[in-house]
């Protein structure tokens, strides 16, 4: 478990400015998928209730039906948790000195990286498509001087505002770094 006031390798006078996760639309998709996958079989079962009762009363078909239904619903429940964990653990932390990116890709793949604000060359906000325009979410790309140094904030809320904050923090950090040298 980590705390926002105790970041990994926290520097002196470093403060968290923004803590970002993907937009709530990502959670909505998980919830809609969960409701559809559980609701549809329940609805069909309700429609054919008499047949289901016959199946359940049968000593062999009944137990196969109960076990397979149980496995189906438990699997949906588990996949929902895995998807939610993926959402919950994908985070971007912007401090007054650096950007920390923690990404969870499935259960067994996790990437954590960080970038000094002074190394940032350019920040770009992107809102693409009807859904992103209506719900105001999208991507922010932070480019460094290094060829592959590109940070990607995926599907975050209000990307233009985040880009403005990053740009402002980069300017402040560069002034601070150059004033020291």
């Amino acid at each position: 478990m980590f705390y926002l006031n105790q970041l990994p390798n926290q520097r002196e006078n470093e403060k968290v400015v923004l803590f970002l996760r993907r937009h709530w639309f990502a959670v909505l998709i998980i919830i809609v998928a969960f409701i559809s996958l559980t609701g549809l079989p329940i609805l069909v079962g309700w429609f054919y209730l008499e047949t289901i009762k016959d199946w359940i009363s049968n000593p062999v078909i009944g137990l196969i039906f109960v076990i397979s239904s149980s496995i189906y619903f438990l699997s949906i429940w588990l996949v929902t948790l895995i998807e939610f964990t993926d959402y919950y653990l994908d985070t971007w932390i912007i401090t007054n000195e650096r950007i920390i990116n923690v990404e969870q890709e499935g259960l067994f793949h996790r990437t954590a990286s960080e970038l000094d604000l002074a190394a940032v060359q350019d920040a770009t906000a992107e809102i693409r498509g009807i859904l992103q325009t209506v719900f105001t979410f999208g991507n922010v790309f932070v480019q460094t001087a290094a060829e592959k140094g590109r940070f990607h904030f995926k599907n975050i809320d209000n990307p233009e505002h985040v880009k403005e904050i990053v740009t402002k923090l980069v300017e402040e950090d560069k002034k601070r770094v150059y004033s020291k040298t």
């Binding site: 478990m1 980590f2 047949t51 359940i56 149980s70 438990l74 964990t85 919950y88």
Partner: protein, 98 residues
């Protein structure tokens, strides 16, 4: 005339399969919860997710066990007669047999 030998399977074989699935479910769930606790941000939301997931799992598993308890697990299944016995009455009325 060639005849198949009478094959019987104990019904409890399904219980073993279900048990194996539950073990797999438990492994993935605990691994996921470990991830949430180890890498998640401290806060109320984290405890809420774990509680909701654990509560839902307990409800689903206990509901299934409650339904499974009423079956006789010692009875055998006669494989040869299975389709003849149950095949005709499986589908609800209105389904056309091909």
């Amino acid at each position: 005339m060639f005849t198949f030998p009478e094959l019987t399977l104990p019904v409890s074989i399904f219980l073993l399969l279900y048990g194996a699935y539950l073990l797999l479910f438990l492994f993935y769930s605990l691994f996921n919860i470990y991830h949430l606790i180890r890498y998640g941000l401290y806060g109320f939301g984290l405890y809420l997710i774990i509680t909701v997931f654990a509560g839902g799992t307990i409800l689903l598993v206990s509901g299934s066990i409650f339904l499974l308890m009423k079956y006789d697990w010692s009875q055998p299944i006669f494989v040869n007669g299975l389709i003849e016995t149950y095949g005709n009455n499986l589908l609800p009325e209105g389904f056309v047999e091909f």
